[in-house]
Amino acid sequence: MMHVDRYEQIWIRLSVFVLIAFILAVLTASVSAGIQVPGVVQRVDPNTVTEPGSPWAEPGLRELAPGKYEAYILAQIWVFTPDEIRVPAGSEVTFYVTSKDVQHGFKILDTNINMMVIPGQVSKLTARFDEPGTYTMVCHEYCGVGHHTMYGRIVVEPTQAAAE
């Protein structure tokens, strides 16, 4: 073995400790707190993804149960369809996003929703909207000259109980 200075040894041990602590922290956040990154959902053909029978033929919001929704969103240059979604506060929404042309991005500000949208793939994440207000969803991947105009809104409306 080789000689390593005493202070440098301490530093090296500390570095290893810090890195292991980081790994455990993100593991805890993903397992216990359930903060997940996107994974495998399904593959689609971008050329036929808007044809009848595909859920993106008529993209939009569908209610699964009270307070539980799924939102099918189609990304294409340079719009999201739909570009506005309204849900009551306290709703849990699962987003299924795909692209029929180039790569896009999908981020909803002030949430943990942040996904790439890749033709041929379906991006899926779930978020809970407790605070009423307007959330902006933006395309964050360069998709051509109109990229900066590609955005939409999620309007979270106060529930009646909250209004009273």
Binding site: V37, D45, G105
Partner: protein, 565 residues
């Protein structure tokens, strides 16, 4: 090289130095051309950065340069390709051509390999520049398909990479020849680590080579109808992350082995330094999914495996922080510095080459921290593709690497031109303005991304969702951009004036080479290529093999090309 001054210096030693320089005539010519082209590319790249800074702040200046540059995105494509790919690659190959041959004290063994490499790189640059200039490749420097550039763009970039491979072959051949000529001797630190960097680059670029050869080039030529965008992204990021180490390791070589000499110190622990570079060879490549945490279609388990390996590749940088600081402390104390922090003031802050590189190290500390944030699996959701990311890499490649290369240029250009650096004070102002400019720019971009989720590489001045709350930060970034512009102008002024009007040197500048403090015998495993190269290949197969096999066997080449600009 300054031969005419020999009459005034009868000193035999000086005569020997001149004779030594003459042996490296071809190497010096190659290096001059490579860093010259790098600097021209950088000057154009930086110029376009100014337009971006003003655009973000709400002032569209592109109308003044139409039709040369049509809009923000064309300028941004040039900015990324010229700065991140051309400036870096050309400078690194040029720097290594000089550093390896001086470190081994022998010329290149097969110089034709390096000449071929140079010709390929220049041909590639011309082919890449043509579609960028004519707005046929406004695809940014990540060129994600199915956005489709002109075929010349892909072929050009490929040739630049292949040219850098040939340069690498030339370096490997020279090292092998040196080892035969010097049996039993340990390879000098600079030659070893520069060759490790080039070996890592050979492995790392297999990804982008596969992307270009099996997908983008045949597709852009109309030979195949479609590509699989996720597979292409995966190939891209196979190369994309080690690419940042290809930029960074040459700076590390200077920090480990050259800057301590300039500071009057010694390399604190050379053996650990060698270990650090071997670890980079081992761990740089099998980490690419940390750029794809938010991608659909990649199993989360694979992403997590790459997250763990990414923390692994942070480890050698942690060691570097200690070793480099300790090496500089030796210098500060040798120069009479006392106390816990007193030695810092005694460092050679009047030397622009030193100062630029020390400031680069400080900025890299911040860049490293935001890099660990990016790499931290689900934490990445908070900042992925926001301005945080360009904030981060302007601290790393834009500051740590580029400012270090400026510092290297401050001794290398005098060495290559035989002229004294013109305007030492100007060069010092240059280093400090780059430091503060980058600090302001990066601070603003990190905050905009983290607090407001502002998307990166977006024409923010025209975005309908632009929020007035962003304005103070965009103004801060603009102040940074203006400082950087001043700094870049000073850099090109100093370099041009040195070459054109610098005082002729009576003896050549020598490459700074730090002695090691630890003179113990080197363990055999730290001077042995095989275990590390095989280890690197093994880890790449482990981290990419099964998943790439699956992606390729289930490939859906369904995406036709789109021209969306």
């Amino acid at each position: 090289m300054a031969v005419q001054s020999m009459a005034q210096t009868p000193d035999e030693a000086v005569r020997d130095v001149h004779a030594a320089e003459a042996r490296f005539a071809l190497e010096n010519t190659l290096t001059r051309w490579l860093i010259g082209i790098a600097m021209v590319a950088l000057s154009i790249g930086i110029l376009l950065g100014i337009f971006q800074g003003f655009e973000h702040a709400g002032l569209d200046l592109y109308r003044f340069i139409r039709p040369a540059i049509k809009d923000y995105y064309q300028g941004l494509s040039l900015h990324g390709v010229l700065n991140a790919l051309v400036w870096t690659t050309f400078f690194i190959v040029g720097f290594f051509t000089l550093a390896i041959t001086r470190s081994l004290d022998r010329p290149l063994s097969h110089p034709w390999l390096n000449v071929v490499g140079f010709v390929l790189m220049v041909t590639g640059l011309v082919l890449t520049a043509y579609p960028l200039w004519w707005n046929l490749a406004t695809v940014l420097y990540t060129f994600y398909p199915p956005m489709q550039a002109d075929w010349t763009f892909y072929v050009g970039l490929t040739l630049i990479v292949v040219g850098s491979w040939f340069a690498g072959y030339g370096f490997f051949a020279t090292l092998i020849r040196w080892r035969k000529e010097n049996p039993g001797k340990r390879t000098p630190f600079i030659a070893l680590t520069a060759n490790i960097t080039m070996a890592m680059w050979q492995l790392a670029t297999l990804g982008v080579a596969a992307e270009m050869l099996t997908q983008l080039i045949p597709w852009s030529l109309g030979l195949i109808e479609g590509v699989d965008p996720l597979l292409a992204r995966t190939y891209f990021w196979f190369t994309g992350h080690p690419l940042v180490y290809f930029w960074l390791l040459p700076a590390y070589i200077s920090w480990y082995a050259m800057v301590p000499k300039q500071a009057g110190g010694k390399l604190f622990s050379e053996n650990l330094g060698r270990l650090v570079f071997w670890l980079f060879l081992l761990l740089s490549t099998p980490v690419g999914f940390h750029h794809q945490y938010t991608d659909p279609g990649i199993p989360t388990g694979w992403k997590f495996l790459h997250a763990i390996l990414t923390y692994g590749v942070a480890f050698p940088s942690f060691i570097t922080a200690f070793t480099v600081c300790a090496s500089l402390e030796l210098g500060g104390r040798a120069r009479g510095g006392k106390g816990w922090f007193g030695w810092i003031r005694r460092l050679p802050w009047n030397d622009p080459s030193y100062t630029a590189q020390n400031l680069a190290m400080i900025l890299f500390a911040f860049g490293g921290i935001s890099g660990i944030t990016n790499a931290s699996y689900n934490v990445n959701l908070a900042i992925h593709n926001t301005t945080w990311v360009p904030g981060h890499f302007h601290l790393t490649v834009g500051a740590a690497v580029t400012l270090t290369f400026f510092g290297i240029a401050y001794w290398m250009v005098p060495k290559l031109s035989g002229r004294q650096l013109f305007g030492r004070r100007t060069a010092l102002v240059q280093a400090w303005t780059w430091f503060f400019g980058m600090l302001l720019f990066a601070n603003a971009f990190h905050l905009l991304g983290l607090r407001f989720g502002v998307p990166r590489r977006t024409m923010l001045g025209a975005a309908p969702y632009r929020d007035p709350a962003w304005t103070p930060f965009l103004m801060e970034s603009l102040v940074g951009v203006i400082l950087l512009t001043i700094s870049a102008t000073l850099f090109f002024y100093v370099i041009l004036m040195t070459v054109l009007a610098g005082k002729k040197l009576t003896k050549p500048v020598e490459m700074p080479v730090a002695q090691a403090l630890d003179q113990d015998k080197i363990p055999a495993w730290l001077d042995s290529w095989k275990p590390w190269v095989w280890g690197a290949i093994f880890l790449i197969i482990l981290a990419y093999g099964p998943i790439l096999y699956q992606f390729i066997s289930e490939m859906q080449p369904t995406s036709p090309g789109f021209r969306v600009w």
